[in-house]
């Protein structure tokens, strides 16, 4: 069955990426530490005002995720390039979208774990009370992570062949992530409060639409981007 072969390849790439990341010294620990450090610095910059901290908490968590996520995306293709493993990877039979899907799955797992740590740190540092509608907030966070990971992985593949990839990736990625950041922070904020204006639903729908459009577009475009 072709889809079983494709799914096996996707799992193999995701497993390989996660294993190498967990074994690399500068892997998950480094990226998660950076995210928490950014959160602490933002907290210090905002000062001791408890209300100001609570108001800024959602934005701070998303920004910390975004900045540290860029490191993770860069690494996902750096591993292939460091040892010249990208060419053998491209030479395996089967559709190339499976490579993208495998990287996507690995990055989604990686960033989700990181977000869990950042959110826990944010709750403690910014004094957030967990609301009754926490499953809705988790859904919004998951949608935001999907948007971040889809675009992050795609632009990392695009920048991977450039010598200036560390600089190029944020330059390409950050402007594209504005709608994700805006929708995710506004929906999360609304759900953390009373959502008197019923904003959360509209922003969540925008997030779903954005994720779907870019999920399809990046899968189609990946084959052309990864070709030399």
């Amino acid at each position: 069955m072709a889809w079983e072969d494709d799914w096996r390849r996707v799992r193999a790439i995701a497993k390989k990426d996660l294993t190498t990341e967990l074994r690399a010294k500068a892997g998950f620990n480094g990226v998660a530490s950076l995210a928490v450090t950014i959160l602490i610095l933002l907290g210090l910059a905002l000062g001791p005002d408890a209300d100001a901290l609570r108001n800024a908490a959602v934005g701070a968590v998303w920004l910390a995720t975004l900045f540290s996520g860029v490191l993770a995306f860069n690494r996902s293709f750096q591993v292939e390039l460091e040892s010249g493993a990208l060419e053998p990877l491209l030479l395996y039979p089967g559709p190339r979208w499976t490579i993208f899907a495998g990287k996507l799955l690995a990055n989604f797992t990686f960033v989700s774990l990181m977000v869990a740590i950042v959110m826990a740190a944010g709750i403690v540092l910014f004094g957030i009370t967990i609301p009754a509608r926490w499953p809705m907030i988790l859904a919004v966070v998951a949608l935001g992570v999907v948007g971040l990971v889809v675009l992050g992985t795609f632009y990392a593949s695009m920048a991977s062949r450039s010598r200036a990839r560390e600089v190029l990736l944020p330059l390409l990625l950050f402007p594209m992530l504005v709608p994700v950041l805006l929708a995710a922070t506004t929906a999360s904020k609304a759900l953390l409060g009373a959502d008197l204006m019923h904003e959360a639903g509209a922003w969540t729908r925008l997030l779903i639409g954005y994720d779907l459009v870019f999920l399809i577009a990046t899968f189609i475009a990946f084959e052309h981007v990864i070709e030399a």
């Binding site: 072969d5 096996r8 390849r9 799992r11 193999a12 790439i13 390989k16 294993t19 190498t20 074994r23 690399a24 591993v79 460091e82 040892s83 010249g84 493993a85 990208l86 060419e87 053998p88 990877l89 491209l90 030479l91 395996y92 039979p93 089967g94 559709p95 070709e227 030399a228």
Partner: protein, 247 residues
């Protein structure tokens, strides 16, 4: 004369062998540029089934580029090529399933063990995991199967890359400096792998700096100079003459 020789395939390009085209590799007028610099300017040659050909030439002459184009890793800017009768651009996916390409760098994952590297290859190729240990033993890495590749010497990494290549069961080998970092046993191992592919009706194209390790298996050399095939020589004829003289 040299150009005429370069253009003349050993066998007729459209004849068939066991239902397959007689020419395993058929390159016609391949051109490739990087930026404004043309590295290949109309490379034309053929490699027949059961034939081992070597691409020679100075650094920067385009040997690796030819192999990467035939391996579907680069698209040519001009010309066409087929591998086992399949177009390398229009039928790239099919070509990828038939070639075994070995690059300068082994392309292994340093933080995975030798076995894990091959298990990953097995998953990507849809092969049973049971095939891995036999391949590791064949290249002499059975005892270090559980060690991370980061600690391997360049020669051991080359052997592991060779084991991964064997797993693909390729019918056309594209080998870029295949003997680099290999000891005497490694050279013999590489040659035995090439012989096996040839014996099963395959073909091999090797990019070489040094001809000596490949002398025993080579049929023909093609010299690439300034992006064109400048000369072709039959190594087989030289060997046959040498053996006759010995007799």
């Amino acid at each position: 004369m040299a150009r005429l020789l370069a253009r003349a395939p050993l066998r007729a390009p459209h004849s068939m062998y066991n239902g397959q085209p007689d020419q395993a590799i058929d390159a016609r007028g391949i051109g490739r540029r990087f930026g404004i610099r043309w590295v290949l300017r109309g490379v034309t040659f053929g490699v027949g089934r059961g034939e081992v050909a070597a691409l020679l030439g100075p650094n920067g002459s385009g040997k690796s580029t030819v192999l990467r184009i035939l391996g579907t890793l680069l698209r040519p800017n001009a010309g066409t090529a087929t591998v086992n009768g399949r177009d390398i651009v229009a039928q790239a996916a099919s070509v990828r399933g038939q070639v075994g390409y070995l690059a300068h760098t082994p392309g292994l994952y340093d933080d995975l063990t030798a076995r894990e590297n091959l298990l990953f290859a097995a998953d990507m190729l849809g092969l049973p995991h049971a095939s891995v240990d036999g391949n590791l033993a064949r290249v002499g890495l059975g005892e270090v199967a559980g060690s991370r590749v980061r600690g391997f010497s360049a020669g051991m990494q080359r052997r592991l890359a060779l084991a991964r290549l064997i797993m693909r069961s390729p019918s056309v080998l594209l080998l870029d400096e295949p003997y680099a970092n290999l000891d005497e046993n490694g050279v013999e191992l590489m040659n035995s792998v090439i012989r096996d592919v040839i014996a099963s009706g395959g073909a091999a194209l090797l990019a070489l700096h040094e001809l000596a390790p490949a002398r025993a298996i080579l049929d023909r050399t093609l010299t690439l100079i300034e992006g064109r095939i400048a000369t072709t020589n039959s190594e087989r004829a030289v060997r046959e003459r040498a053996s006759l003289a010995t007799v």
